[in-house]
Amino acid sequence: MRAKRWVRYTKELLKEIGIEPERLEMFNMSSSMATAFAEAVEEMTRRAKELGPSPLKRKKEAA
C-alpha cells in the first residue's frame, strides 16, 4: 500500500498550495471490476463539476 501513502501525501502537498485535495483520489479495483470503475469515474466527474475549474485555470481565464 505504498501508493496509498503517497497519494495521501500528495493530497497534503496540494492542500498546502491551495488546490483542493479532493481532485486526487485512489481507488482499488481489479481489471474485471467494471461497475466499480464506472462508479469511480462518476465520483470523480461529480467532484470535478462540484469544485469547478482548477484554481490555476481560473487564474488564467481571469488574466
Binding site: 501513502r5 498546502e16 498550495i17 491551495g18 490555476l56 488574466a63
Partner: protein, 223 residues
C-alpha cells in the same frame, strides 16, 4: 546519517516572496536518503512554488538543481557561474550544507528548506530514529552498543535510574528505558559485569562549539 524534515510550505514560501528568480538546490546524500532534500523533493518543492506563484498571477522562475553533497566545496563547482543569476537559493541540505552554500555564495541570499533534526538510522521505509548526539566521547564499547546519551532522555552514563518501569521510561512510557536495553544486551553477551562499572561524569570539555577536527594525516598543516 543526518536526518532532516522539510519545513512547512508557507514558511519556505515566505522566505522567497518577492523574488523573481529562485534556485531550489538539493543535496544527494543524507537528506536524499531520508526523503527530505534530494532530487525528488527538489522537484516537489519547485513544482509547489511554481503552482503557488502561478495562482497568485506572479511570473517567477523556479529552477532545480541537485548536487551530490552540499557539505563539500568541490561539488559546488558546477554552480559557481550560475548562482549569480538567481535572487535566492533555497537549500534543501542539512544545516551544514546550507551554511556552506551561504559561505560560497555570500552575495546571494541562501535560505533553508529543512529543519535538521538528528543523526540517526532508518528503522523502516519512511521512519528514522535518533541514535547519536555527536558528543565527541563515545561510550558504546561500555554499553553494549546502545547510546545512553541519546536513548536515555536524562542522558545518564550510569543506570537505570529509579524511573525505569518494566523496561519503559518514566519520562515517556512509550519509550524503552535505555539502561534496560543496555542490561539485556550485556546479559545476552555474558558481559553483565560491565553494568557494575561506574562511569565518571561525562567529559563535556571535549565537546567544543563550534568543533573542528583535523585528520591525523593532515595535522602538519595545522601547525
Amino acid at each position: 546519517m543526518i536526518v532532516g524534515q522539510r519545513k512547512p510550505f508557507d514558511e519556505i514560501k515566505s522566505y522567497v516572496d518577492g523574488c523573481e528568480k529562485i534556485l531550489v538546490l538539493g543535496c544527494g546524500t543524507c537528506v536524499a536518503v531520508c526523503m527530505a532534500g534530494g532530487e525528488k523533493e527538489v522537484q516537489i518543492l519547485a513544482s509547489q512554488l511554481r503552482i503557488a506563484f502561478q495562482e497568485e498571477g506572479k511570473n517567477v522562475q523556479v529552477d532545480e538543481e541537485t548536487i551530490l553533497r552540499q557539505c563539500d566545496r568541490e561539488y559546488f563547482d558546477t554552480l559557481k557561474d550560475r548562482v549569480d543569476k538567481y535572487d535566492v537559493v533555497i537549500s534543501m541540505a542539512c544545516g551544514a550544507g546550507v551554511q556552506l552554500a551561504a559561505e560560497l555564495f555570500p552575495h546571494r541570499v541562501v535560505v533553508p528548506a529543512l529543519n535538521t533534526t538528528f543523526i540517526g538510522i532508518a528503522e523502516k521505509e519512511g521512519v528514522w530514529s535518533e541514535k547519536c548526539r555527536a558528543c565527541s566521547n563515545c561510550l558504546l564499547a561500555e554499553t553494549g552498543g546502545i547510546c545512553p546519551i541519546t536513548i536515555c532522555p536524562k542522558g545518564l552514563v550510569n543506570g537505570p535510574c529509579g524511573g525505569t518501569n518494566h523496561g519503559k521510561c518514566e519520562v515517556d512510557k512509550n519509550k524503552d528505558c535505555a539502561w534496560t536495553l543496555i542490561y539485556r544486551r550485556l546479559e545476552g553477551q555474558g558481559r553483565l559485569d560491565k553494568i557494575r562499572e561506574i562511569h565518571p561524569p561525562k567529559n563535556y570539555k571535549v565537546q567544543t562549539t563550534p568543533a573542528t577536527i583535523w585528520h591525523a594525516a593532515y595535522r602538519e598543516e595545522e601547525a
